[in-house]
Symmetry: C2
Subunit: 188 residues, 2 copies
């Protein structure tokens, strides 16, 4: 678990044993059971989380009372409500474990301390955040360019293992279509 984070970081920046130890000392381990909430809508997201194992979803409730899933997080990804975390204001979204999960959490204040202590942590989070922007933009462009059928085929082709781990109606929500319509598309 410690090593997973270490290896993750070393793919992004150079860090000494000591530098890593200092950084790692800020993290706390969190275990979630299936269906447990990491963050509820309206609460402030206090931590940035590294997913060591498991699967989570970020979603909000739209004006009709339906879930809209905006992202999933699996092993080796980070999860947080970025706006809520950065500005320490109430979140619009909720985060829930879909499988029992193990996370490493660093608080907002501790992350600020880490930035102050070691400039390479600034770089690490610059790189992570850049990757988030690229992923968000690619997703947005893909959705604009493709029909529903192509969105479904696209995700099945690029992330087949991932598709198997989540219920079909959640995939529909993520793909921005109704579960009934996804079911119909699958027939073909």
């Amino acid at each position: 678990m410690r090593n997973m984070l270490r290896q993750y970081i070393e793919r992004k920046i150079q860090i000494s044993d000591e530098g890593f130890d200092d950084f790692f000392s800020y993290f706390k381990m969190i275990e979630l059971k299936k269906r447990e909430y990491l963050l509820e809508e309206g609460k402030i997201c206090r931590n940035y989380y590294f997913v060591s194992s498991g699967l989570l979803r970020t979603f909000f409730i739209d004006y009709k009372g339906k879930d809209v899933i905006t992202s999933f997080a699996v092993e080796n990804w980070w999860v947080t409500d970025i706006e809520s975390f950065i500005l320490q204001k109430p979140s619009q979204a909720a985060i829930q474990a879909l499988e029992s999960s193990v996370l490493l959490a660093i608080s907002h204040d501790d992350l600020e301390r880490a930035y102050a202590q070691n400039p390479m942590i600034d770089r690490l989070f610059r790189l992570i955040t850049q990757n988030i922007v690229i992923a968000l933009q690619n997703r947005h462009n893909f959705y604009l360019k493709k029909s529903s059928a192509e969105r479904y085929q696209g995700i099945v082709k690029t992330l087949p293992k991932f598709v198997q781990r989540i219920p079909q109606h959640m995939l529909a929500s993520y793909l921005e279509m109704s579960p009934e319509y996804l079911s119909e598309l699958r027939k073909k």
Copy 2:
């Protein structure tokens, strides 16, 4: 122009006169006439641009041959194709001036040099990139939650000056609807 960038930066990080001079020395001024392209689809985006004055749009062509505008940039914003810039790979999008514009450009290599020279530049771009993520997510959530009519009303209310500067069919593209439909909505 130099001062605009200075003031922008000072709102994000602390920087000395010397630190700013070093950083500023990497920038080149670029002037664009109305309709001129800053980046064409398929080319590599070589620079990160700070908009000193003017207005630009980022867009791509979808499978039906229609423009889809993904963002606008005005004074005091940054503009680039982030994926193309970071990975130095061909861009999927184009960037075009909608008004004659003045930009400050820093190349990929020079920005890497600036990161190496001064860790505060890492922090600056971490903060800029975080803001981009927040803006992208807010936009995405807003679009998911609202009908076409509400999207139009929302942008008119929050960015009235901005709406006046762009042709209506481009606003329609940005709002992800046809210009005819937007025209119909405006009647009400």
